[in-house]
């Protein structure tokens, strides 16, 4: 589960991790109102206006409505013009950014609507660093990654200058040890006050990752000021879904408006659903088989419209919900149901399909491939239903049949 930058910074602030002061706002009036207290509290006339969406690359991103405008704007008018000038500029930016659509490298070309801004204190940057905590699957441990190349995509650093990435594994019993935090701070070239602050920052961040069950905390950039302060200028956190049950305060931060409506609806029926751009809807049992079904549609020359795993024990109402969700997508021209019955018997799923089609109605081709437990009974139910269902001998045959049926 992803959260916004302002929420990640709230969680960090609560744990004593230095972040700039800021206020999240949803209207122009609120944005303007936030400026004066911020400048008074920090003594810094510079403020920053940041679009809050669940995607990275906001600074380099651009609004569809206004291609010159980025997702992060630094307001320096307060230096010469005082608080009033800063307020005017923030108000102007807020009016242009709110309800705009921001396109970044991570949003796709359609972009994401901006409904909330974060008005934040400006920071005098001396150096920009990178710091993250994430799971390393190869060692089955969390690792702290750090780099002197702050402000750059870490994937790019890993590709071009892998020697500039420092790593320390977190022992699950002991946590990140003091010497490991020191090694990272030395590696980042921190000295004096910045070294002390850096060590504390790294240790506290590692503790927060473990305490909050994050699957990623990324601070990019982590900045060092001329005074030696170490501050999270940006903050990205995402959480491990299986552990959310023990973090109700994090669950409350979920922003449903950032997620796909069909995916939210599907999760309510315990269906694992991901929307794609193609024309052939898929309904499958098992995650691996569901992926392989998408692959085989592509292999025979079609385009899958979705990933959908109905799970191992799908009931009739889940099958019906799956049909409804798939057919609501206007791009979908046909559906391919691919089931390998194990514990879930083919006759049960066949009856589920017949009942669901009766209930929902279906005005597009449907190809069903059944294999496994009680397969003959299942096929018999489909044959005798009087519904226009094409039966497939195997996966490839099914993929070819649905492609053929949707071509005309």
């Amino acid at each position: 589960m992803k959260i916004h930058e302002f929420q990640a910074k709230e969680l960090m602030r609560a744990r004593g991790i230095p972040v700039p002061q800021g206020t999240a706002v949803t209207s122009v009036a609120e944005a303007v109102k936030a400026v004066a207290p911020l400048i008074e509290a920090t003594g810094n006339p510079v403020v920053v206006v940041k679009a809050q969406i669940h995607a990275g690359g906001r600074g380099k991103g651009r609004f569809i409505e206004e291609p010159e405008l980025g997702g992060v704007s630094v307001v320096t008018e307060g230096r010469d013009g005082g608080v009033e000038a800063a307020k005017t500029k923030v108000g102007d930016l807020a009016a242009r950014m709110l309800d705009g659509t921001l396109v970044t490298v991570q949003t796709g070309p359609e972009g994401k609507p901006v409904r909330r801004l974060y008005i934040e204190q400006g920071v005098d940057i001396d150096r920009e660093l990178y710091l993250s905590v994430l799971l390393d699957r190869a060692s089955s441990r969390n690792v702290v990654m750090a780099s002197t190349e702050g402000g750059t995509e870490i994937e790019q650093v890993a590709e071009e200058t892998p020697e500039k990435i420092l790593r320390e594994e977190i022992d699950p019993g002991l946590g990140l040890l003091d010497f490991q935090a020191r090694q990272l701070a030395y590696g980042l070239g921190l000295e004096g006050m910045a070294f002390k602050n850096g060590v504390r920052f790294i240790k506290t961040l590692a503790e927060a990752a473990v305490e909050l069950d994050t699957d990623l905390i990324e601070i990019n950039p982590l900045v060092v000021t001329k005074e030696g302060a170490v501050v999270a200028l940006d903050g990205k956190m995402s959480f491990e879904a299986n552990a959310l049950y023990r973090h109700p305060e994090v669950q409350d931060m979920r922003d449903l408006s950032e997620e796909n409506a069909a995916e939210i609806e599907a999760s309510g029926y315990d269906l694992s659903f991901i929307k794609l751009d193609g024309t052939i809807g898929c309904m499958v049992n098992g995650a691996g088989l569901a992926m392989a079904t998408m692959d085989i549609i592509k292999y025979v020359g079609g385009q899958p419209a979705n990933f959908l795993d109905v799970g191992g024990g799908a009931e009739k109402d889940q099958v019906a919900a799956a049909f409804k969700i798939i057919t609501r997508d206007p791009n979908v021209k046909g559906i391919f149901v691919n089931i390998f019955g194990g514990i879930m018997k083919c006759d049960t799923i066949a009856q589920g399909i017949v009942d669901a089609v009766d209930e929902v109605g279906l005005d597009m081709p449907l190809v069903v491939r059944l294999e496994g437990t009680n397969v003959d009974l299942g096929k018999q139910i489909l044959d005798e239903s009087g519904l226009n269902i094409l039966s497939a001998a195997d996966m490839k045959d099914g993929a070819q049949k649905i492609l053929e049926a949707t071509k005309s």
Partner: protein, 310 residues
């Protein structure tokens, strides 16, 4: 004959809830020696299983079964009373990692964890706990392990399997069933099929299974089924190049999966450009693995790999 489990394996079940009961019954019907359950709140009770076996009518095998399974407080007590060496875990996600660690502390050879949805942090701890101990973990979030006609531990449908010559190892449940079904159809059958699970942090990995199958005289080929996410398949490819003496076929799911999205399995995600199907397929092909272009071709790919090497 097989790897990990055979007809002499004595198995306990941790978690005798609805799911544990259902699959224990299926395992007994298949012929597995289920000897005890561990379920603290029901310790001292017994659970009765009876019915017709999967092999009724087969000569020299029983037509029906009636087993009264004793329920214990701890894994140690269950082992002391029964001599079991393997456990299967059906404990719910918040408590499953603890069950795995209890099995390891008790010194079992193998613990198979079927449970889906265990927090990653819990598995990170469990793996660290298991590292210095002798217990092997298979899973979690997996269908289990089966040696056809001998021992079924987990949730796979038993009847699609046939004793034979190919070892199966897979991150996906239903794709394992596809592969097994096709191997049965082409007459190769299976020595043992191992589901290693779809989680990012799991126990036994591809390399462990390849090594086991490579050392098993009755396994004449291996089919490995991977998917997007992580680099386990790439590491397996390197091991195959260096050590594998038997033919290997493979399939990788997720060629069309978009980056950054979790495809059902917690571990099936392309992140930071790593873990794509294309990378895995080319690594396996470079190691001489015959990679099936579609899941329908997995059996044929195994046949081809075996013909190439003979």
């Amino acid at each position: 004959m097989s790897v990990l489990i055979d007809k002499n394996t004595k198995v306990i079940v941790q978690g005798m809830g609805k799911t544990g009961r259902f699959h224990t019954d299926k395992a007994i019907a298949y012929g597995t020696q289920m000897v005890a359950a561990v379920h603290p709140s029901r310790a001292g009770q017994t659970e009765l299983f009876q019915g017709e076996t999967d092999h009724s009518g087969v000569p020299d095998r029983p037509d029906s079964y009636q087993v009264e399974l004793p329920i214990f407080r701890t894994v140690r007590e269950a082992i002391a009373a029964t001599g079991a060496t393997v456990s299967v875990v059906y404990v719910p996600p918040p408590f499953a990692a603890d069950a795995i660690m209890e099995a390891a502390d008790a010194g079992l050879d193998l613990v198979v964890c079927v449970t889906e949805g265990i927090p990653v942090a819990d598995m990170v701890k469990a793996k660290s706990y298991l590292a210095p101990r002798q217990t092997r973990l298979v899973g979690p979030n997996c269908p289990g392990v089966i040696t056809p006609r001998e021992c079924k531990i987990g949730i796979m449908p038993g009847y699609i399997h046939e004793a034979g010559r190919v070892g199966v190892v897979s991150r996906s449940g239903t794709l394992t069933y596809e592969a097994v079904h096709q191997l049965t159809q082409v007459g190769l059958g299976q020595t043992t099929a191992i589901g290693i699970g779809g989680d990012p942090v799991n126990g036994t990995d591809f390399i462990d299974c390849l090594r086991l199958f490579n050392d098993d005289p009755d396994t004449h080929g291996v089919i490995m089924i991977g998917e997007i996410g992580g680099t386990a398949e790439e590491e397996a490819a390197a091991w195959i190049t260096a050590h594998m003496t038997k033919p290997v076929a493979g399939f990788i799911a997720g060629t069309t999966a978009p980056p950054g999205k979790r495809m059902g399995h917690a571990g099936a995600i392309i992140s930071g450009g790593k873990g794509t199907a294309a990378d895995k397929i080319s690594a396996l092909q470079a190691a001489g693995v015959v990679v099936a272009p579609t899941p329908t071709d997995m059996g044929a790919a195994m046949v081809e790999a075996m013909e190439q090497q003979s």
